[in-house]
């Protein structure tokens, strides 16, 4: 915000902070406005646009990433809070050029339509399997409920997750 000094108003101070972020194993040092969320830091400052901005208020799950191995919402996390913590995004789940088994299963089972919520769904599903909460379809539905899909591709997502678990790829490490 820039105020008009000639009219005697004050210029609001804008605070910045230098933050060292480690995303997908790569450290970067960013000088950021303190208001920048992890989501905006990933997308606008690190060019990692796989993480999506849906509602930007913690309701839809599209911005789900892992921080220290736990799934969280990057839209309600300040970038500065993540210094010294390991951030993993959808760009960091493939190994040696091969998609993550959950990614493979989403493709094989057609677990999406428009694809906008998909990175968040996959980050959530990888964590769900790690949490050992993919035992039944009901359990999958309950513990995936923080990720909304406006296309309604839920049945195929449940099938994809079930397939990964039944094939024993459940503990596939990122």
């Amino acid at each position: 915000m820039r105020a008009d000094i000639s009219r005697g108003t004050t210029v609001p101070e804008v605070f910045e902070t230098v933050t060292e972020l480690t995303v997908n194993g790569r450290p970067s040092v960013l000088s950021l406005d303190t208001r920048v969320t992890l989501l905006d830091a990933l997308r606008d400052h690190l060019g990692l646009v796989g993480t999506k901005k849906g509602c930007d208020q913690g309701a839809c799950g599209a911005c789900t990433v892992h921080v220290n191995g736990k799934r969280v919402l990057s839209c309600l996390t300040l970038a500065a809070q993540c210094e010294g913590r390991a951030v993993t995004t959808i760009e960091g789940v493939a190994r040696a050029g091969a998609p993550h088994p959950v990614q493979e299963a989403f493709v094989a089972r057609d677990g999406f339509q428009c694809g906008f919520c998909t990175p968040g769904q996959i980050m959530s599903a990888i964590a769900l399997i790690d949490e050992e909460r993919a035992g039944t379809d009901d359990e999958i539905r309950e513990f995936m409920s923080g990720n909304l899909c406006r296309c309604g591709a839920y049945p195929n997502m449940v099938a994809a997750i079930r397939e990964v678990v039944s094939e024993g790829n459940g503990n596939a490490v990122i």
Binding site: E13, F15, T34, R35, G58, T77, Q81
Partner: protein, 329 residues
């Protein structure tokens, strides 16, 4: 969003000193309420003190109580073995709240301090809100009141306290541990909150700069029957229309101890002491449960849009009392 200074605290005393020194400073823990309301323009702190690195996470068994550090996350507390074994209603309430992502972020201290979901409070373009602007009125009483309170509410404010966790905690007589600039104090959680009908803009007894450092939850006696029932518009990831946390100690066919918390109905997490008294000394049964439920909601203040909650809350409570006591419908 107003620009703010960001400071990371490493000691509780530093955090308390920093926030106490500035009237416009606030604590930042999980951020799920704080950052959300800052984006909406409802909150505008000039300084955020990040407390997520303070040594206040984790649980410790202290005799017949569980001490829970304020920075323990909802997911961490739900996974605690003592909670699963001795406080199953707390575990149920935790896992029925929010989503896994939010539960990985939200802390126990923050959960107790979460602000109301009232859409009129959360929209600064709405001019009438006694919670945001004391004396301005209440847009909710003239608006869509489905998700609002009927207990501890009146024409001044019908904002609901939406925590699930706090419902069993008030029933269990959990104690909040608070660190302030001049020392520590403790307060029963059920005495911690004020009623929206009496003070819409002041929600609890914390003074500026005070920090919740932990919550002490007395364990249920061995053999107690307990549970948490949440009634909502969706099966998952939705706030309660009504909920009931109950714990009963029954022996020789008589209820010796009853603890009842109600959610989705009160401007604070609601402890139904009169309903408990109605049950103690009675044999468990539908008649006694219905009598207790009537007493629990006898002081309801309703609008056409919230009146359904009076009936729903009673049915919710009766059903959960039946479920835990094994009384057939």
């Amino acid at each position: 969003m107003r620009s703010f200074e960001y400071v990371r605290a490493t000691e509780v005393s530093d955090a308390v000193r920093l926030v106490s020194a500035r009237p416009d400073a606030a604590y930042l823990a999980g951020g799920t309420t704080q950052l959300d309301l800052m984006k909406d323009g409802v909150l505008g702190p000039g300084m955020l003190v990040d407390i997520t690195r303070l040594p206040l996470a984790g649980t410790e068994r202290r005799g017949e109580a569980l001490h829970v550090g304020a920075l323990t996350t909802m997911e961490e507390l739900a996974a605690d073995p003592t909670v699963a074994e001795r406080l199953p209603l707390v575990r149920e309430a935790l896992l029925k709240g929010a989503s896994t992502q939010l539960r990985n972020m939200a802390t126990i201290g923050g959960n107790l301090l979460q602000r109301t979901r009232c859409r009129y409070f959360r929209d600064p373009d709405v001019p009438k809100c006694n919670k945001r602007l004391p004396g301005s009125g209440c847009a909710a009483v003239e608006g869509v009141p489905r998700m609002h309170a009927v207990l501890g509410a009146n024409e001044r404010c019908i904002a609901l306290h939406a925590s699930d966790l706090a419902v069993p905690l008030v029933a269990l007589d959990a104690v909040v541990h608070i660190q302030g600039p001049t020392g520590e104090r403790r307060i029963l959680l059920r005495d911690f909150y004020l009623l929206a009908s009496e003070s819409p803009d002041v929600e609890n007894h914390l003074v500026h700069g005070e920090l919740i450092t932990g919550v002490e939850i007395p364990l249920l006696p061995a053999g107690a029957l307990s549970g948490y029932l949440k009634v909502r518009d969706r099966m998952s990831y939705e706030f309660a229309l009504t909920s009931a946390a109950v714990a009963l100690v029954i022996s020789d066919g008589i209820i010796h101890e009853a603890r009842i918390g109600l959610g989705g109905v009160g401007s604070r997490p609601w402890r139904a002491l009169d309903a408990e008294r109605e049950l103690v000394g009675s044999p468990p049964g539908t008649e006694a449960f219905r009598r207790a439920a009537r007493v629990a909601v006898q002081d309801a203040w309703t609008l056409p849009g919230t009146a359904f909650k009076v009936e729903l809350a009673q049915r919710c409570l009766v059903r959960e009392l039946r479920t835990v006591s094994g009384v057939a419908a």
